[in-house]
Amino acid sequence: MFLEKILSQGKKEQSVIESINRHIRLLCTACETFSTALKNRDANLMRNIIELEREGDFVRRNIISDIYQGAFLPYLRPELCRFVEIVDRVFDLLEDTALQYLDTEIPEQVKDECARVSFLNVRICEMLLITFDAMVKGDDLREKTLAIRIYEKKIDDIKFDLIRDIRKLPITNFWEGKILADFVSGLTTISDIIEDASDHLQIINVSMRA
């Protein structure tokens, strides 16, 4: 077993890294799809998010399976799995938010703000991918995690304005109001989870240093 590990020269680990990279790229695609669908009011495009989430689940299962088949030291395995689970939470939230969009009509008064938040979600996802690549190379992550925190702060600022604006809207039906509130909550929470994911990358980076 240990000879196999040495002779494989890190192929299993490389495969896991590539899979996690693919997982995050898929998330970026999902966020971009969401943003485009929201901007163009394209319900069919929004439905693609469900397929992307399913694909994300498939990739996640493969990653975890590969990790526990012997990739990386046992010390690192739970941390990598935790990171993948956090990214998966973003997928789930994005899917729920997409379904809520399909289930309700977004008022004109808040459409621009929602579009702005979804655009920033795309940027923050791309930053997470850059941070992950940097973590793999062993680079300093401080600037990248700072950038993610800046994006997250921007989204938080828009979130407060959004909440203030939707409170001014007349709601005729409890469930309409609830779905709209859940949609806004989901849209603005994506960045929080991505920030958690980037913090976790920093933990992995520090734990592997001598």
Binding site: G138, R209, A210
Partner: protein, 308 residues
């Protein structure tokens, strides 16, 4: 030749207990499988015993001039003392036990040479001190080097894995080289065995302990040690191995457990951790006194009974 059986028993218990200091953390944390660990430990421990084991035998045999039956009593008393002290959770070192027994037998026969004890006791004291020193220096130096050169996570992962394996093999080699004298050194002094034969029999007896009864202690010790990251675990095992190997060149068998304890403290100092506790120091110091004294008393009783 039946008199070597007590030495074989001592070697078996040494192998069962001390092999945990080598791959204990690796096995408990899943880096190395238990089967791989015991095979590597056995092979390298035996090689160490054969190649450098005779170096420490002279020291053990010079403390007192023993006759064969006294050699038998010494190793039996050491084995029983270690067992009793382990049962009452006092850290017991085979090196300290065997010296205690040899002194005891020597006192009864009037052949004990107390002047040899200065060198031996100094080495006991310097074992954890060396562990602290080398642990700190190795962690600082190699950590600096690693952070400048190997940054990629997959490369570093592979390096840590190979490092833990290689340092474990070196640790096994050093354990065999240093501690085989505890097991069969007294037979060389009493003329039953040559140094080479003693190394062979001692090495095989320690290996038998590793192969048959090391799992429980390995898991207990491995999980009980302060949770170490892979790099620190590698440094601790390497430091323990280096310390043992240095004292092998000096010619004095020392405690592998205390070398590892020192290494953990040294590594902890790098991270500013409070790993030195007065309680731990008291335990080690207590072991220095209790182990040889108990072994000495027990040997005196055993030799007296046999002579009676």
């Amino acid at each position: 030749m039946w008199k070597v059986l007590s030495g074989v028993f001592l070697g078996w218990s040494l192998g069962a207990n001390d092999s945990a200091n080598i791959f204990g953390t690796g096995v408990a944390t899943g880096v190395v499988r238990y089967r791989t660990a015991i095979i590597l430990t056995s092979v390298f421990l035996f090689i160490g015993a054969i190649l450098e084991g005779p170096k420490c035998m002279k020291t053990v045999s010079e403390v007192s001039r023993l006759i064969p039956i006294e050699a038998f009593c010494c190793t039996l008393a050491a084995a029983i003392t270690m067992t009793i002290l382990t049962l009452i959770a006092v850290p017991a070192s085979a090196s300290q036990a065997i010296i205690g027994t040899v002194i005891g037998a020597g006192m009864l026969s009037g052949t004990a040479d107390f002047s040899k004890l200065y060198k031996i006791i100094s080495c006991w004291v310097f074992t954890p001190v060396s562990g602290i020193f080398f642990g700190y220096v190795l962690h600082r130096f190699s950590g600096y080097l690693l952070n400048k050169t190997v940054l990629n996570i997959t490369h570093r992962n592979m390096l840590y894995f190979i490092g833990i394996l290689v340092s474990g093999c070196y640790g096994a080699y050093s354990l065999g080289a240093n501690n085989v004298a505890n097991v069969t050194g007294v037979y060389v002094g009493s003329g039953i065995l040559s140094a080479e034969a003693a190394a062979l029999i001692g090495g095989l007896s320690i290996v038998s302990g590793v192969l048959t009864y090391s799992k429980k202690v390995m898991m207990t010790v491995g999980k009980g040690i302060v949770p170490l990251d892979p790099f620190s675990a590698f440094v601790v095992v390497l430091t323990g191995a280096l310390t043992l190997h240095i004292f092998t060149q000096i010619g004095v068998p020392v405690s592998s457990s205390q070398a590892v304890v020192g290494a953990v403290v040294g590594v902890g100092i790098v991270g500013d951790l409070q790993t030195i506790s007065p309680k731990m120091l008291m335990k080690i110091a207590g072991g220095w006194i209790m182990t040889p004294v108990s072994a000495c008393i027990f040997t005196c009783l055993l030799v007296s009974v046999i002579n009676f």
